[in-house]
Each structure stands twice: as C-alpha cells, then as structure tokens.
C-alpha cells in the first residue's frame, strides 16, 4: 500500500538498531591501561632501581675479599625465551670500594667446571649488573646458582646460592616441570 513498506530499509546491514549503546562498549577496554598503571609504575621503579636491586633481595654476601649484593630481579617463574630456553634474571651490586677490582662476574645454574664455562657474564655498571641466566634442561630443585668472580688481580672466587634461596619460584616451576615429564 504505502510506498514506505515496499522500499528496502536503507539501514539494512549497517550497525545500529535498538542497541546502539553497544557500539560504545569499547570504552570498557580503557579499563586495561587504568588498571595496569600501578603495575607499570612499579615495574618502572624496579627498572630504575628505586625499589631495590630486584623484587627479592638476597642480601649482601662475601665472595673472596669482596662483598656483593644479589637479587632475583622478578620473583616469577623462568621466562620462555624461545630457542634460548627458559631464563631467569638476576642482579648484583658491588660495594663501591670493591667495584674497581672486579674484572668480570658470571652466573650459572650448577657448578661450573672451569672459568671458561663459568656461565653468562653479567653486564652493566658495577652497581647494577644483570644477566639472563638459562635454566638448563637437566636442572634440579637441589641445584645452586653459582656466582663466579674474576678479579683484575687474576684471582677467581666462587659462591653457591641454593636455588631454593635464590628463586623459590624457579623451584616451584622445576617441580612442576618434573611432574609433567
């Protein structure tokens, strides 16, 4: 009868209809950055060293004639780095009076067989050196994190930190992996 009924709806297929408000719901996605802002700022404070050397500080320890502070950078399970395997980041800080005597420091999970196999070399200013330490396939919960230090005087010193002290999160992860295998 009336022409309006015969005409096709010019808005067919286009977004709209009775629930137009739904198209503004993406505003809810902005909750993501708002909710994560505190965590972002905490991670920035960690990055800049304002909240200490790491999330879990292991305290100062003697290694040969020198003193070093050690920390687990983030108290989480090892991170899957693809081909490089799983990694944990550890950080150290040398005492100001010792810093100039240190040639290089290395981290390794498991006892190194020689200086050449001391593990990954730590990098950064002596007051904040870090390394991504690979967690070997055969690592066990009773292993230790070994810190090997080479002085400019040619001496080499080592200290072993039991993994349950260095990173409880890694122990939990290793146990889980052991059960899965």
């Amino acid at each position: 009868m009336s022409t309006a009924k015969v005409k096709t709806n010019p808005h067919a297929g286009l977004p709209g209809g009775r629930h137009r408000w739904r198209f503004h719901l993406s505003v809810l996605l902005l909750i993501i950055p708002i909710a994560l802002a505190p965590k972002f700022l905490r991670e920035e404070a960690l990055f800049f060293g304002d909240s200490g050397l790491g999330q879990r500080e292991l305290g100062e320890m003697a290694i040969g004639p020198w003193h070093v502070s050690v920390a687990e950078y983030m108290a989480d399970a090892p991170i899957d780095q693809g081909l490089a395997g799983h990694m944990k980041t550890f950080a150290i800080r040398w005492n100001t009076e010792d810093a100039a005597h240190i040639k290089a420091s290395y981290f390794k999970v498991g006892k190194p067989r020689s200086l050449r196999a001391a593990g990954v070399v730590l990098s950064g200013a002596p007051y904040r050196q870090m390394a991504d330490v690979p967690i070997p396939q055969r690592a066990r919960p009773d292993d230790a994190l070994w810190l090997t230090v080479e002085g400019w005087d040619g001496t080499v010193h080592q200290v072993a930190i039991p993994l349950n002290e260095a990173s409880p999160a890694t122990i939990a992860w290793l146990k889980q992996r052991g059960e899965a295998q």
């Binding site: 009336s2 309006a4 010019p10 808005h11 297929g13 286009l14 977004p15 709209g16 137009r20 198209f23 503004h24 993406s26 505003v27 996605l29 902005l30 993501i32 950055p33 994560l36 802002a37 965590k39 972002f40 700022l41 991670e43 920035e44 404070a45 990055f47 800049f48 060293g49 304002d50 200490g52 050397l53 502070s69 991170i79 899957d80 780095q81 693809g82 081909l83 990694m87 800080r93 100001t96 100039a100 005597h101 040639k103 290089a104 420091s105 070399v121 730590l122 990098s123 950064g124 200013a125 002596p126 007051y127 904040r128 050196q129 080479e150 002085g151 400019w152 005087d153 040619g154």
Partner: protein, 398 residues
C-alpha cells in the same frame, strides 16, 4: 560497464563493511590514535615543560663538548657515579641524555648541557615519553619475556585501519574530485559537517593512514614472528672482546681508549656515520659502541670498538643489512616520524590529529545517521496513523 544497480549494491556492501570495521571498537581506536599523536611530540612537550632538558647555549659562539669532556664533567660533579651511555638527541635544542648508575644501584637519565657539561636535571622514574609510548603501543600491559598481549591488541588494530582506508575509498565515489573541490559545509547541521570532514580529512590523509596501518601491521607480524622464534635478522650474535686482548691484570682495571678516540676511529672508517651516541663497555668483554645515523636517515648504524686496542670489530651498517631488513627496520621510524627533525614530527602530529578525528567523525556520522533514521521511523509511523494527510505531513517534516 557493470549495470548501475549492481554497482550501487557493491558500493553499499563496502559501506556496510566500512561501518562495521571500526565502529565496534571505536573508543579503543580513538584512544590509540590520540595517544600515538601525543607520543609523536612527547619529546617536544617535555622540552616545553622542563627547561632542564633544553640545550641552552651559554654564548653564541659556544661549541659542543666532546664525549670525554662530558664524561669528565659528569664524573666530577657526581663522584663515584657510573656512566653507561651518552646520547646526543637528533635535534640540537635538546640537552645530552647521559644514562648513569648511582652507587646505590639506582639508574637515571641526566640532562647535561652539551656546551658546558653541567648537569641541568635528573630524569625521574616516571618518564612521560616512555609512558606515552607504553600507553599507545601496548596499553601498559606488562611484557613477559618479549610478549605483551597489549601489543597484540593494539597492533591488530592495523587490520581495521587498513580495511577502513580501502573501503573508505571504495565508498567515496570519485574521491579524487574532493582534492580539486574541497567541501566542508559548516552551516548545514552536524551530520553534513561530520560527513564532509570525514571525507575531506580522509582523502588528504591517505598516505599517512597507509603508512600507519602498514607499519602497525608490521609490528603485529614482527611480534608473531618473534613469538615463534623466527627472525629476519642477519645480525647474528655480537662478538665479545677476545680474552687475549684484555691486558693482564696488575690488580687494577685495564684502561679503555677514550670515547672521543673511539668516535674518531669509527669516523675514519665510516666518514658518513655521525656519532650520535656512545655506550661504554658493560663488562670487561664488551665493546665501546658508537652509533648514529648515516646517509640513509631511517636506520641507526652502530660500530663496536675494542676498548683496549681500538679495533673496529663489528658493525651494523646499512650495507650490512639485507634488503628485507632495510624494509623491516624502516617500519618503526616511519611509524614514529622521528628521523628528520621537528618539522616532520609536526607533520605527523597534525595528521595524527586528523586521523584521531577521523575515528571520532566516523562515529558521529553513524550516530547522527541512526538518530535521523530513528526520527524518520517515528515520523513514518505517525504519518501512517494519520493516513489521509501522509503527503502533507511528510512535506511539512522535510
């Protein structure tokens, strides 16, 4: 030629696709465009807000200091501090950025006057530039390893953006006419205004939107590749300094060659590389890295200098890269527009604002159109009820 009716049908289909592409996520897309626009000029905003990041010239004839003089000035001002790197921003209006570590383990950016070496200010934990970048690029979603799902969420928006660009041009019949006869009707109501704005801003932003969508699409692909341990890099593992090259210890740290010398050695070999930054060795086995822009401004070139014997032992120059890498590594500078100076940043800023407004105007068109459609529907229903006066009522309403 296709029949006009069929042509109209496909054009309508493109309008439907165009409408659905961005509208369901319009607030997020608007937010990402807006934060990206601010991020483009965030360095300049900091320059305006903080006098200490400006490179104030003490005298008109003052010359910039070399890296050794800067290092000495910082070490003298802050005894015991460890300098990690010194960067000279592309634009000479900015102070040097000296990244340091304090003996208590805190790290900071120092703003150092390039002419006097004076520490003008210290950057805080909250870095506006990085914050805007993180807000825009991954919505502050923390990275676990090299992955952040926020990165996926944002870079996936490149798909609706590219789709909107293509379908927009398909919907806009003979869009090239808009270049010659620009039309922006201000007094014909909101629907007309936003429609004109959307089309006009759209056609002038075609290259910019294409750059943003393609580069952002690359960020998505790059992340997918990285998460699957696939790399297009030919760089390989940077070498370490050979143990034999490190002078035998006499109890004290073996001396490094000076930073200026390292810069000279690199320039001797590669005269077109401008040493814009230098990073100090992070341990006894690492190199002094000198880097900067060469003849191809989009890509940073670096050279690793052995700190004990001055040999340039490794380079990452334009010529060291594969053709594919030249394309992929150009994506980020193309996205940020930070490679040519202030003028380009302002161009990016203006087009960024236009793009942000494209999202908003698109939503406004939809809002006004559906509002009009609802009004029309109400009118039609009313008109039908008063059947005899249909014709007159319509005329009156229109």
């Amino acid at each position: 030629m296709r029949p006009a009716k069929e042509k109209k049908k496909t054009s309508r289909l493109w309008l439907i696709v165009h409408s659905w592409l961005a509208l369901p996520l319009w607030v997020l897309i608007f937010f990402v465009c807006l934060t990206g626009t601010i991020a483009t000029v965030s360095q300049e905003l900091v320059w305006l807000a903080k006098p200490e990041v400006r490179a104030n010239r003490p005298a008109p004839d003052a010359v910039p200091l070399g890296y050794d003089a800067v290092l000495a000035a910082v070490e003298q001002a802050e005894p015991g501090i460890a300098v990690n790197s010194i960067a000279r921003p592309v634009k000479s209006i900015f102070a040097l950025d000296v990244f340091v570590t304090y003996p208590d383990g805190r790290t900071r950016s120092l703003y150092v006057n390039p002419y006097t070496g004076a520490i003008q200010g210290v950057g805080g934990v909250f870095d506006f530039r990085y914050f805007m970048r993180a807000l825009h690029g991954w919505l502050l979603v923390p990275f676990v390893g090299a992955t952040s799902w926020g990165w996926y969420l944002v870079s996936a928006l490149s798909i609706p953006m590219l789709g909107s660009l293509v379908t927009g041009l398909l919907v806009y019949k003979k869009f090239w006419r808009g270049y010659l006869n620009p039309r922006l009707r201000l007094r014909n109501g909101a629907r007309i205004f936003w429609g004109d704005f959307h089309r006009l801003a759209g056609i002038w932003s075609v290259p910019f939107i294409a750059i943003m969508a393609v580069t952002a699409g690359w960020f998505l692909i790059q992340q997918i590749l990285a998460d699957n341990s696939i790399t297009v890099s030919t760089a390989g593992v940077p070498p370490v300094v050979a143990r034999e090259d490190i002078p035998a210890g006499s109890g004290a740290k073996a001396p490094w060659i000076s930073l200026d010398r390292a810069g000279e050695l690199v320039r001797e070999k590669f005269p077109d590389l401008s040493p814009d930054f230098v990073s100090l060795p992070g341990n006894a086995f690492s190199h002094i890295v000198v880097g900067g822009r060469g003849a191809y401004p989009l890509i940073f070139e670096t050279a690793n200098v052995n700190p004990y014997n001055g040999k340039v032992e490794w380079t990452r120059r334009v010529s060291d890269r594969s053709a594919l890498e030249l394309v992929t590594e150009s994506m980020r500078p193309l996205h940020t527009g930070d490679f040519a100076g202030l003028w380009l940043k302002l161009v990016y800023f203006v087009f960024g604002l236009l793009l942000t407004m494209m999202v908003f105007s698109g939503m406004m068109i939809w809002l006004k159109r559906t509002a009009q459609a609802t009004a029309k529907l109400v009118r039609d229903v009313r008109a039908e009820r008063a059947a005899p006066s249909v014709g007159r009522a319509r005329e009156a309403a229109e």
